[in-house]
């Protein structure tokens, strides 16, 4: 059972209790709810009538319970009718498209033109009050909800590959609708059903309150409130009971709807947790790694370890990561998904989600440890001395602001006294610099009016707006076509040459690393496994993982070889070498203790206890 379902039980139990009471009303031995006894008019609690009597001397408790019966009967009947017809209309409209779709969806727009209470009043005028009229009106009113929900879900289901797959298998429309589409839309329809019932209870009681719903003397909560209003000066409690009953019922139903919706939402069930909430000040940090000599590198990261609190306990997606990048140099961090390369970058920028925090290590930029800097100072550095370009340029730009404004904003955030006009003209210059034709016009464009490559150029213009010393590019070309990727790589290399900034380039593509980087850090399962200059690491890899990764890329004439197995999950990292389970050279010693990052020549490190041994064997085999 999912954790979300726990929230279901309380409201579900309450609703079940109310429904049960209403169903069992005739068996409870209650006094006749319509029998009048004028002598006992407005009497207080008395034996047989724990809640007293109403203005006609009828038993209040009995009327409450019988009232639930009529309210719920109307509500369930109308919601069921609307659900049945709405679902069918929505399924057909969504699946067959064309004229049927147009009629099904557009006719619902017309129903939605009438405010609900008004439509009900119109129908009551025509047909006269009564439960039958109510059920009819309410079913019509809730029909559009079901049609729309079903229609939207069918459309989205249609676009799913798994529906296309069943179609490709040759399944008939009926089979697809009942076997594949309906189970996937059942959740939202159930939520819609509970919403309709709750809202029907409200409308029914409202109309009865106006005297246009259930016909007296039949008991109904709306009618009871209407009656008690007249005598509220003498007997305010009479008003309270039906109000309470009504509110409690609707509250329970609403809570049930909310809980159902949460439980049905596939995002809460399967997707990874949403991270990246607005920054609050980073928590206090552990003792820093002292760095005595002045750092000559632009950025020097030492022993960085990041911890994320998860329901299954803390995990460390990044552990003991160290590297340095110098001015004018391009450092590539390469790794597969789950290697921790992006977490490393975001922790340097101070953009980690609140659940994650660096627990050890330091990141020195211009003599200051970024991991221990208070948020206001870090903010001055972000977008100033260090800047970042993200993977998806569409979602990374704000869709509602012009791109020129978004660049100008970056400039004005770091330079006091720059006017909007000055910032704007600088933004236009920057757009020209990153190779956007007609920058004056383009600065006025919104992100959706640009192509993917152009958006990424805008992101780069924004990042270099304040001449950063360090630019971190997190998979900046992954979402782009290969010819556009080549343009962006050239642009970044050119900017780096011109400005002398240090560039950290995060990617999963070894080819891109070879094209752009001077040095490379290879990461696997949260750790650095090998580090060195690109020609050395790619020409003579020392770590078995680097070697396997290079062999997996189809580049030479030999067929690419996959690496068996999968990357371990952060909550199940092994004690010893994290690659051992997939490594052809693994020995029992590899799994016994965590291997250290060893020096292996000038600027070269490797995390493998057998690297020298394996290297010697390779050399022998070649000879």
């Amino acid at each position: 059972m999912r954790p979300g379902t726990k929230r279901l039980w309380v409201p579900a139990g309450l609703v079940a209790l109310i429904v049960l009471l209403a169903l069992l009303a005739p068996l409870l031995g209650l006094p006749d709810p319509v029998r009048q006894d004028v002598a006992q008019r407005l009497a207080g609690p008395m034996p047989g009538s724990p809640l007293g009597r109403d203005e006609f001397g009828r038993d209040v408790l009995s009327r409450l319970i019988w009232g639930a019966r009529s309210s719920l009967a109307v509500a369930f009947a109308s919601a069921s009718i609307a659900c049945l017809f709405g679902t069918i209309l929505g399924l057909l409209g969504g699946w067959f498209r064309g004229l049927g779709e147009f009629l099904a969806v557009r006719s619902m727009d017309i129903v939605l033109c009438f405010p609900p209470v008004l439509l009900a009043l119109l129908v009551v005028t025509l047909l006269g009050p009564g439960a039958g009229t109510l059920i009819m009106v309410l079913s019509v009113l809730y029909l559009p909800g079901f049609v729309r929900v079903t229609y939207a879900e069918v459309l989205s289901a249609r676009s799913h590959d798994y529906v296309e797959a069943v179609r490709a298998l040759g399944a008939s429309a009926g089979r697809i609708l009942t076997r594949t589409v309906l189970p996937n839309v059942a959740g939202p329809i159930l939520v819609q059903f509970s919403l309709a019932v709750a809202s029907a209870v409200v409308l029914e009681s409202g109309l009865s309150f106006l005297g246009l719903g259930v016909v007296p003397p039949a008991p109904s909560w709306g009618l009871m409130i209407r009656g008690a209003r007249a005598t509220m000066a003498q007997a305010p409690l009479l008003l309270l009971w039906p109000c309470l009953a009504l509110t409690l019922t609707i509250l329970a139903m609403n809570l049930l709807c909310d809980a159902l919706r949460d439980a049905m939402d596939p995002r809460t069930a399967t997707a990874r947790p949403r991270l990246r909430l607005l920054d609050r000040v980073l928590p206090g940090l552990v003792p820093p790694a002292p760095n005595a000599e002045a750092p000559e590198a632009v950025l020097e990261v030492g022993g960085l370890t990041v911890e994320i609190a998860t329901p299954r306990g803390p995990i460390r997606p990044v552990e003991d990561v160290s590297f340095a990048v110098h001015a004018g140099e391009t450092l590539a961090i390469v790794g597969e998904s789950g290697s921790g390369k992006s977490v490393t970058a975001t922790s340097v920028m101070g953009l980690l989600p609140p659940a994650a925090r660096p627990v050890a290590g330091a990141a020195w930029l211009e003599g200051r440890d970024l991991l221990r800097l208070p948020e206001p100072e870090l903010r001055r550095l972000r977008g100033g001395a260090m800047a970042m370009v993200f993977q998806d340029p569409m979602s990374s730009l704000n869709p509602v602001h012009r791109v020129g404004d978004q660049i100008a904003e970056a400039i004005r955030a770091h330079r006091r006294g720059v006017t909007q006009a000055q910032a704007w003209s600088r933004a236009v210059d920057l757009l020209r610099r990153v190779g956007i034709a007609d920058p004056e016009r383009r600065a006025r464009a919104y992100p959706h009016e640009m192509s993917g490559g152009m958006r990424q150029r805008v992101m780069i213009a924004m990042a270099v707006a304040n001449e950063p010393k360090l630019l971190i590019a997190d998979e900046p070309t992954t979402a782009l076509d290969v010819t556009v990727q080549a343009q962006i790589l050239d642009l970044l290399a050119e900017l780096r040459r011109e400005t002398g900034m240090a560039l950290i380039f995060i990617t999963h593509s070894l080819g891109v690393v070879a094209e752009i980087a001077d040095r490379v850090v290879v990461m696997y399962a949260g750790q650095v496994v090998e580090q060195g200059s690109v020609p050395e690491v790619f020409g003579a890899p020392l770590h078995p993982y680097t070697r396997a990764l290079l062999a997996a890329v189809p580049d030479g004439d030999t067929a690419p070889a996959g690496i068996p197995g999968v990357v371990p999950q952060p909550h199940a990292f092994p004690v010893g070498c994290r690659f051992a389970a997939r490594c052809p050279h693994a020995k029992p010693a590899c799994e016994a203790a965590p291997p250290a990052l060893e020096g292996a020549g000038e600027g070269r490190t490797v995390r493998c206890i057998r690297w020298a041994e394996i290297g010697a064997k390779k050399a022998e085999a070649v000879a």
Binding site: L169, S337, L489, L549, P554, G562, P564
Partner: protein
């Protein structure tokens, strides 16, 4: 190969135009595929490469009849595919052609056990008696390198690479002769990519499948495919054997594409031909040669007529009027 055996799937003059959306049908229609001739022989792996908007995915769906073509004829094993064909006829053909999708997460129904999803094809076509289906599913799982005891699990219990294997097993269930693989490894990590590519290569050789492999990753295509078709803005720019086409690309676009592909080995790195700008919108393609707006060799003549896909020796065909000149 294509000369010796008659093609299993053959399309001539295939076009697909998507009408603009909305009630009022405003905006220009998108010409996704324009007058494409393509054929795949039994046992042959044909690669279709191109960037986004080149129409390569649409081409795959057209060949499977999952979308009706606006123009052109498709023949499957000699029989023309036609939207007006009786439903039963269609279903019989469906069994013989299948598809594998790109997204390992969206291509499996999250609410059904994978065994049931693999068995769908068996049930729809009544290929195996119900009692024997479980056994056949286990066999299929083993065939794609998965643990046969996992049939009762749900998709979310598998990794991306494993899901892609499940998708392949589902496609193989009906015993197809023609398989369209639409970017099947693009969403996977490099080390997993190589596993799945090796599996597809192995299956196609063992089962004698005709494979249409759609990809934007040229090195993968080079390793897997016999022949390659290069598409740009809905048109075929160049076609030829993988070996020849990658060694000596004839079309300026193919060259640009190859040179833009990042290579690990510096010795293999071609001189970079940097294309300007991005592909024009398929709803508003340039006149004449679709590629001329980004081509370094374009002349006035390129804007006038749509260059025909013409033979260039052997299986090689190219749609460029200056191919010999600029070689």
């Amino acid at each position: 190969m294509s000369a010796a055996t008659p093609p299993l799937v053959e399309a001539t003059g295939l076009s697909k135009t998507f009408a603009a959306r909305g009630v009022f049908r405003r905006g220009r229609p998108v010409q996704a595929v324009r007058r494409v001739d393509v054929s795949v022989a039994r046992g042959e792996a044909l690669g279709v490469v191109g960037e986004s908007g080149s129409g390569k995915s649409t081409l795959g769906r057209l060949l499977l009849g999952l979308q009706p073509a606006t123009e052109g004829v498709i023949r499957f094993d000699g029989q023309p595919l036609d939207a007006t064909m009786p439903k039963a006829e269609w279903r019989r053909l469906r069994r013989r052609m299948q598809i594998v999708f790109q997204d390992p997460f969206g291509s499996l129904d999250p609410r059904r056990r994978i065994g049931a999803q693999i068995a769908d094809g068996l049930a729809i076509h009544d290929l195996v008696p119900a009692a024997e289906r479980a056994g056949r599913v286990e066999e299929l799982l083993r065939q794609v390198g998965l643990d046969p005891t996992h049939a009762q699990r749900f998709p979310h219990e598998f990794s991306g690479g494993q899901r892609q294997r499940i998708g392949i097993a589902r496609a193989l269930a009906t015993g197809p002769e023609f398989l369209v693989a639409d970017e099947p490894v693009s969403a996977l990590d490099v080390s997993i990519q190589a596993q799945v590519v090796a599996l597809m290569d192995d299956l196609r050789r063992r089962l004698g499948l005709a494979l249409l492999f759609i990809s934007h990753d040229l090195p993968v295509v080079r390793h897997l495919c016999d022949r390659v078709v290069v598409m740009y803005l809905g048109r075929v720019m160049e076609e030829g054997s993988a070996e020849e086409l990658f060694r000596a690309p004839a079309h300026p676009y193919t060259r640009a594409l190859l040179s833009a592909t990042p290579r690990i080995d510096p010795a293999r790195r071609a001189k970079r031909i940097l294309l300007q700008g991005e592909p024009p919108s398929p709803s508003n393609p340039p006149s004449g040669c679709a590629f001329r707006t980004r081509c370094a060799h374009a002349t006035a003549a390129c804007a006038e007529v749509v260059p025909e896909l013409r033979p260039l020796g052997g299986e090689r065909r190219v749609a460029c009027i200056r191919a010999e000149e600029i070689a």
